[in-house]
Symmetry: C2
Subunit: 385 residues, 2 copies
């Protein structure tokens, strides 16, 4: 009933318990690679099928096609590299298995090393992010990545451990089951790395309404932009909102363990692929979606969906959102470009800086801007810093 | 009133807010090193003075003295290397500052790179851990460390972010203030990476009683042994116990963001130094303290405190604990070596494997073995896996 997964079926790399027990003892004798937080996120999404049809860290052929043509070697649209870089002196050998461990050394997976290849920082950064500037947080991070990428058959022994918000974490298969129970064929996903304010609430509700569909509120809780409000705080705001202000029969709040690249347009397409795997056939794409600094134009991430390859491949619809605000004249949240005869003062507009300043000083936010439950959580957060 | 910090005063690397703001903007133009979870833990303890008098990642001279003689170059006893390894091709240069970022790229500190030196895996592993066997979890991890260590002046801009249990996290200075309010000069610290059972409860209470002192319940929540119960679950058991079964005027529960090395005897001495910085003048050292596998003898970690250098330097007393269990004959928890005329069946003994099996199957633990509040939390944990 929901849209099919990207590529037809969901990848699932988790092996059964019997095999896992065998591999656990085998792993003690294998060399290990300690994954970064980013690689742990990627491994989780590979394992549960969030990146379907991709089923392992990219091999060289896929990687090069992704950089040059935004597709896998078999022609499937795929805009962002998902790679496993290791140091040049890592203890790995071709055709040998290696144990992949999380940042605390817990065993997560076994990778049969079928390829070890060099990658080029400048080429990847320019292709995916459009810049070599180290003020771009991913470019800065890439300078610390190892020189070689590993690829090969991947078997997941256990998913990364999350102690927080377990009830809000769902695999694509679980998400689909939960969405199906809402009884609507259409699903619009909303991607966010920020607390939700009234404008986001209205935007998501209107989007769901317009397609007579369900809403998948799908915040990123892996890696986002450095400096963002931490996900513990954000998730509390999402819970407060969905508990009280959304129609429970229509909304599913679920946490996505994605490591963002801040890759603007290419990342927006990637978000659409991922959300399709989670069962959404629509995605809201805002101004400067997945952007950082001014490396991308404000509408690049919307326009890329007009690219013929993207258009042909995705089979998911985009809601292009622009600046929204509360109109004092119309007494409701509007898309600013849509209303006539409005001056700046006719809107309730607060910059992020202003919001942080008010909350740090214990000033309440206007109720047209944020729900009071959300404002309280954020005030706690800013005042405890 | 409490014992003085090790080396006389607590190190504090956190700079004031004004300087921090300046460094934050400067950091955008600097090369970055993304720290591992382990290095983030070490940075936090360096920053707050948990490793006093050490005030940065070790330089080559200190490092070599620590390996060979268990002391810093100035003669101070210090048993465990605290280093910052980076890849050979990391973007760092001598006499240049580098931004240290956490696993999610948040800025934590600036390091003036005053030394870059090679280190030797075999030499360090043998000196500190006594083995080269890759089944030792730290040896396995070390194979993934970069080839060069960095050292130099370290300025902390902000402490690593912890969203959980903030009320239970204290710097050494805060811990000392809290302990002083207990009004006792003697403090015994208890180190643990496991849930607490009745035997631990009795052991800690008896130790505090015997010195008429306060108890610092000081569980490690940084990195412990792979496979341990996660700290979220463990801390819930510690809270349940201290809320209900300990004398609040006498106990302080505080979480230590330490990255353990599983280094047995050397690590035990390190634990004593750290606890002295937190205000304790006694430490409980159990059988196979900080051990793993059978790399250390059961009492090595107690005997090392008889080493003349250790004895002379530490000025902290050790409670040497052995196997404890509930005696059905005496109806109390006893140190097994201390009681006469007991057969194995006279004790309530449960192996870790048996406990896990019972909890996974929903069987209750005997009340002589675990408090019911603790057993319930652990049952949730094992049944949710």
């Amino acid at each position: 009933m929901l849209i099919s997964p990207y590529g037809g079926e969901l990848v699932n790399l988790l092996i059964d318990e019997g095999e896992a027990d065998e591999l656990r003892s085998e792993a003690n004798r294998l060399p290990s690679v300690q994954l970064t937080e980013r690689a742990v996120c990627d491994l989780e999404l590979l394992g549960v099928g969030g990146y379907s049809p991709l089923n392992t860290f990219m091999n060289q052929q896929d990687y090069q096609c992704v950089l040059e043509e935004m597709r896998l070697a078999n022609g499937t649209l795929f805009p962002v590299p998902v790679t496993l870089p290791v140091d040049a002196d890592a203890s790995v050998s071709l055709d040998q298995p290696v144990a992949l461990r999380d940042t605390k050394n817990s065993l997560l997976a076994i990778l049969e090393v079928e390829e070890i290849y060099r990658w080029d920082l400048d080429r990847e950064a320019l292709a995916v992010l459009g810049t070599l500037d180290q003020r771009h947080p991913l470019v800065a991070e890439m300078h610390g990545w190892g020189a070689l990428n590993l690829s090969g058959k991947l078997r997941a022994i256990q998913l990364p451990h999350h102690a927080d918000f377990r009830g809000l974490r769902h695999t694509p298969a679980q998400t689909r089951t939960a969405l199906e129970s809402k009884g609507r064929q259409n699903v619009v996903a909303f991607q966010t790395r920020n607390p939700l304010h009234r404008v986001h609430e209205e935007l998501t509700k209107q989007a769901a309404e317009s397609i007579d569909g369900a809403l998948l509120l799908h915040p990123v809780v892996g890696l986002t932009k450095p400096g963002d409000v931490d996900h513990y705080t954000r998730v509390r705001t999402y819970k407060a909102l969905t508990d009280k202000y959304y129609d429970r029969d229509r909304v599913l709040l679920s946490l996505l363990p994605l490591a963002m690249r801040m890759g603007g347009p290419r990342e927006a397409v990637w978000h659409a692929i991922i959300r399709r795997n989670y069962g959404a056939n629509h995605l809201i794409v805002g101004r400067d979606h997945a952007g950082v600094g001014d490396y991308y134009g404000a509408f690049d991430a919307q326009e890329i969906f007009n690219n013929p390859l993207v258009k042909k491949s995705l089979i998911i619809n985009i809601f292009a959102a622009d600046h929204t605000a509360y109109s004092k004249k119309l007494k409701k949240v509007v898309m600013m470009r849509d209303v006539k005869n409005h001056a700046k003062d006719d809107f309730v507009l607060l910059s992020g800086t202003k919001v942080r300043e008010m909350l740090s000083n214990g000033q309440e936010l206007p109720s047209e801007f944020a729900r009071k439950e959300v404002a309280e959580i954020l005030m706690d957060y800013y005042q405890s810093r």
